[in-house]
Every structure is written in C-alpha cells, then in structure tokens.
C-alpha cells in the first residue's frame, strides 16, 4: 500500500504519516523504488493514532497507548490512567476557556459596537480584567 491509499483509508494527510514515521510511530517497509510500503498493520496503527489524536491525546500519550495496545499483557489500569490524566487536562482547559468566554461574553454584551470610541472592552483591558 502506498502512502496515498493509507492516507485515504486512515484519514490522515500523507505529510502527517511521513511525520509519524519520522518520529518513530510507524515503521513502514520500503519498496525497491524507495516508496513506503505500508502493511495492513501499519494502516491500523495509523487509524488508531488518528482516533487517539482526535480525542486530543498528545503524541507521547499516543506512543504509550500504542505500546499498550500492542502489549498482550498490559494492564487496563495503565491505559485508564493515561486517559484519566488526559481527561483531567481537558477539564482544566474547558474551565479556563469557559472563564474566558464568560468574561468576553460580558464585555461584548456591554460594548455598544457603534462608531463612537467609548468601549468597555478596551477599558477592561486597560485596567484589570
């Protein structure tokens, strides 16, 4: 399988796949012409990576998840722990963003948005958000 087909099937851009090889996440074989030759197993790994990345896992998390996935003797606790940590980070991010949103939303509400210079948004940025 060439990179184009894998890209199609895994739903990842070829560039990303090359990058993943670069950083050692997949190790496709090579045809005599130098083209990457992906096995089914490479495809599955890439699809796995695509899904993990879509859930926001970092590349390093993905690397670890992949290793656990391939390890028959893994403990599900290890997987769960990675996911839980990640979940906590996401919760934090959501909370941060919600705080921003609330503030911003108030400010946008309060601003007339006309052609006059008077602006509560700038006033707030000027001194204490």
């Amino acid at each position: 399988m060439n990179i184009g087909e894998v890209a199609e099937r895994a739903g990842l851009p070829p560039k990303t796949i090359r990058y993943y090889e670069d950083i050692g996440l997949v190790k496709p074989l090579r045809d005599t012409n130098g083209y990457r030759a992906f096995r089914e197993s490479d495809m599955h790994k890439l699809a796995f990576l695509g899904r993990a990345r879509a859930l926001g896992f970092s590349i390093e998390d993905c690397r670890n998840l992949l290793a656990l996935w391939e390890d028959q003797h893994r403990a599900s606790a290890d997987v769960r722990s990675i996911a839980k940590d990640h979940l906590a980070q996401i919760e934090t991010k959501i909370a941060d963003l919600q705080a921003m949103r609330d503030t911003l939303s108030d400010l946008v509400q309060a601003c007339a948005g006309d052609d006059r210079p008077d602006c509560p948004i700038l006033k707030t940025l000027e001194s204490s958000a």
Copy 2:
C-alpha cells in the same frame, strides 16, 4: 524602569517582554548601558497585553487591540468585532473539548482499570471512536 521591575508590575516574564519588543509590540528606550528603559506608558501597554493574552487573544489580535486603544478616533464596533470573532472561536474550542471530554469520560467509566488486559478504551481506539 528596568525590565525586572516592569516584569513584576505587568505580571509578565522578562523573556516575554523582550519577545514583545522583538515583534514590535513595545518600543522601550535604552539607557546608555544598553538596558531597556521602560516608561510608564510601556508598562501600561504590557499590562494591557497581559490581560488581552489572558483572555486568549492572539498576538495579532493584541496588536490590533493595542492600536485601537491608542486611537482616539476608533469605533467601538471595531473592538467589538475582534472580541466577537475571538469569542466565537472560543465557543468552538469549548464545544470540541466537551465532545472529547464526553467520549473520554464514557471510556474511563467503562474501563475496569485493573491488571487485566481487557480494555474498552483501546477497543474504541482500535475501531471508531
């Protein structure tokens, strides 16, 4: 005012302030010894930037907000428009993160997290999230 004091008062690391000068957001004077000499006005700009960044505005947004702030004849509509666009992006990010959180939360719930290899998290990553 030296960079250390400004950093303290504006709540930004010295490195960040140097960076902001690099990209032209502030233009402090220089003492004869080569040290940056910040005026009160530089300090206020930096504090403004710190608050805008804390609300998640991009550097380019900050640049524009700063220009509007300094423009006596600005229209508040221009400020509001930047804030509204940014707000919309934040809403999108929140929604994305919430979707991730929901999925992850379900998966973490479903995973026993013991020493056995059976793991619904990996199963999901293996085929369709």
